[in-house]
């Protein structure tokens, strides 16, 4: 039996306060109409009664605009022209209330930032110094399709602790040493000695409330060129206005651009979210653009998530089914629909 702890909801503010005493704590905070992850100034700010945050927590590990390096260009500075790492805060922190889909996304993003051969130092360090406390999802949104993407409302991937709303209190399933330590130092948790049956039922009910969107394995099996050359893209791309909303809200879109900004004799090297939806993303120095057309860019986004990633890493898709892109798209391009079209591409099933 896994390590499970319990705390009453009336004590939970105290738990958060004790966490805040030891860690920088980020949690969903209500901002205007939606929720977003923000550093807590008080325990009362944390609002766990959210469906999901408008932006995924990826920005906490891969900020939209990150100062990587700084340098001086002053003529009399002996250090001029030497690029130095910008100061960053790597003190221990807790991200509280991460939905399981979003936590799983970090595991998928590791394929880009943390591999045997390539390690992004800041991503790796942030991952190491952060304890991820998830919150299982009992009321998935109508746009959720995590179960189709190999995740689920109670998925534990990428988490150190999974909290489950148990009515009067929270049950906390410990998933790593880091998670265990975090709970131990914050006291207020009592061990649960027998399996909590209602939680198993809740998990099943949550999973069953999510429909099946499409089968990414069927896309993995299709020949890449057949999908690439599919006439489907012409239809999918029409509505697209080529904004970056889908990519910026996506927990698994990790692409970035690196730029220098100089003001006077001081300079900074910045890493900035970029989007494959923008023509500038692929514009070469020569002026040539291999993805100058909207169709190519739209195809790239879906092929990358649902086909190339699967082929390259021999894994599931680079999508966790959080449904944010479905909600954010101004023109209702729905990845579930696109996935189904990719699955049925080339089939001659009777209508």
């Amino acid at each position: 039996m896994p390590d499970i702890y319990y705390t009453a909801k009336e004590n939970f503010a105290g738990v958060i306060e004790r966490l805040m005493g030891r860690y920088r704590v980020y949690a969903p905070v209500k901002e205007d109409r939606c929720h977003g992850f923000a550093p807590l100034r008080s325990a009362a700010e944390a609002d766990l009664g959210f469906s999901n945050t408008r932006l995924s927590p990826k920005g906490l590990f891969h900020p939209q605009a990150e100062r990587m390096f700084e340098y001086s260009l002053a003529k009399d500075d002996p250090q001029a022209g030497i690029v130095k790492e910008a100061q960053k805060d790597f003190s221990p922190r807790v991200v509280l209330g991460v939905r399981p889909c979003d936590a799983k996304a970090f595991d998928l993003d590791d394929a880009n930032f943390n591999t045997e051969t390539i390690k992004d130092p800041w991503w790796v360090r942030r991952r190491e110094t952060t304890t991820m406390i998830g919150l299982a999802c009992d009321s998935p949104c109508s746009t959720c399709f995590c179960t189709s993407m190999g995740s689920g409302p109670y998925d534990t991937a990428g988490l150190d602790v999974l909290l489950v709303d148990a009515g009067e209190g929270y049950a906390a399933e410990v998933l790593s040493e880091k998670g265990k330590n975090t709970l131990e130092v914050t006291s207020g948790w009592s061990p649960v000695t027998s399996a909590i049956l209602p939680l198993t039922h809740k998990k099943k009910a949550a999973e069953q409330s999510i429909g099946i969107a499409f089968d990414p394995a069927a896309i993995a099996k299709k020949p890449m060129l057949e999908l690439y050359n599919s006439p489907t893209w012409e239809e999918v791309q029409f509505a697209c206005i080529n904004c970056g909303a889908c990519t910026f809200v996506c927990p698994t879109c990790w692409c970035f651009d690196i730029q220098d900004e100089v003001c006077g004799d001081k300079g900074e090297r910045l890493r900035l979210w970029d989007s494959c939806m923008f023509p500038l993303f692929t514009l070469h120095g020569s002026g040539h653009n291999p993805r100058s057309q909207k169709t190519q860019r739209v195809r790239q986004r879906f092929m990358h998530k649902l086909k190339y990633y699967q082929d390259k890493y021999n894994s599931g898709p680079a999508c966790v089914g959080c449904g944010r892109c479905v909600q954010a798209c101004p023109v209702n391009i729905d990845i579930r629909q696109v996935g189904r079209q990719m699955v049925s591409q080339g089939c001659s099933c009777p209508a």
């Binding site: 469906s51 408008r54 605009a65 029409f238 904004c243 809200v249 730029q259 101004p330 629909q337």
Partner: protein, 315 residues
């Protein structure tokens, strides 16, 4: 089904069968409540997918610039005005176009609906008469459609298309209304407060450019935001970069914006970007007596020069 869906399908099928146009730009039913998808029907069969209801807010004129061939387009009041702007700015030729004009009763705002539902999720929505009936897992509720309109629709004074080849439906009554109540409130703020107000307004911006890209008036081959040799604008979320983007974008559509509201509707983080464009709309109206896209006989004032142009800034 809305009676209007039927008339659009009928007209689209006819135009495609008669080979009057190569394709018809309209909407097809969306996959989530309060959303429809812009759709290009190329065959009479595809024309059968066209719909029209209160979720057709995105301005379809956005799909016209530099199109080749002939195309029919479903156009409500604001779309038709943006088409006029496109014609004046040579983005499309009149002879390429067949405009299916649609008198508009305003479009519903999904954020307004969400505000009233307090986190409860809509799974089904249906429009009948003047009502919108929504239902979810354990609730059902009905709203007056008029209470759910997008803000730009609530103050719209050009509901009927200004240009069309065929009008689908009966013209609707236009309203006489002060369009600038909100703008007046901001104008009356002391400068420092106004600056803070704008800073807070654009603070959530994620620089996805959905507002720009949903805008029919934004069609530059390379937007100033994407200029890279040299780069004109920083790509960070620093307030200076974000402000610059929003202010410049608004200035660029001054006298060309028809207040279709697509920018605000498209924004994934709900920024009221129309407050910028509306202020400029008001100024253009005050200075030049001009309303964008209402007539084909007059160019937008900022791309024309007249010796008697008002120049109050010269004092």
């Amino acid at each position: 089904m809305q009676p209007c869906s039927e008339s659009i399908r009928e007209a689209a099928k006819r135009l495609l069968l008669e080979k009057r146009v190569d394709a018809v730009i309209g909407f097809r039913k969306g996959t989530v409540p309060f959303m429809n998808e812009p759709f290009l029907a190329r065959t009479p069969e595809q024309a059968g997918q066209l719909v029209w209801d209160g979720n057709c807010a995105i301005n379809l004129a956005n799909y016209l610039p530099k199109r080749t061939g002939s195309v029919a387009i479903a156009a409500k009041g604001c779309d038709s005005r943006s088409i006029v702007i496109h014609l004046l700015e040579n983005q499309i030729r009149r002879e390429q176009l067949y405009v299916l004009g649609i008198p508009c009763q305003g479009m519903t705002d999904k954020r307004r609906i969400a505000d009233r539902l307090n986190g409860r999720q809509v799974l089904q929505a249906e429009e009948t008469g003047g009502k919108v009936r929504v239902s979810g897992r354990d609730f059902e509720q009905s709203f007056e459609r008029a209470d759910l309109l997008q803000e730009n629709c609530a103050i719209c004074t050009h509901k009927n298309p200004v240009l069309y080849d065929e009008l689908l439906g009966q013209p609707v009554e236009e309203q006489q209304i002060d369009r600038y109540v909100e703008i007046g409130k901001i104008e009356s703020m002391p400068p420092e407060q106004r600056r803070l107000y704008f800073d807070e307004l654009v603070q959530p911006c994620i620089r996805c450019y959905a507002c720009r890209n949903a805008c029919p008036a934004c069609y530059c081959p390379t937007c100033f935001v994407d200029e890279s040799k040299p780069q004109w604008l920083g790509k960070t979320t620093d307030p200076t970069d974000t402000r610059t983007f929003h202010f410049l974008r608004a200035f660029h559509v001054a006298g060309r914006c028809t207040d279709c509201g697509s920018c605000e509707r498209a924004c994934p983080v709900g920024i009221k970007v129309r407050l910028f464009t509306m202020k400029l709309e008001k100024q253009v109206k005050e200075l030049y007596g001009y309303e964008a896209g209402v007539t084909q006989d007059e160019r937008p004032p900022l791309d024309a020069f007249r010796p008697d142009d008002p120049e109050p800034f010269l004092g």
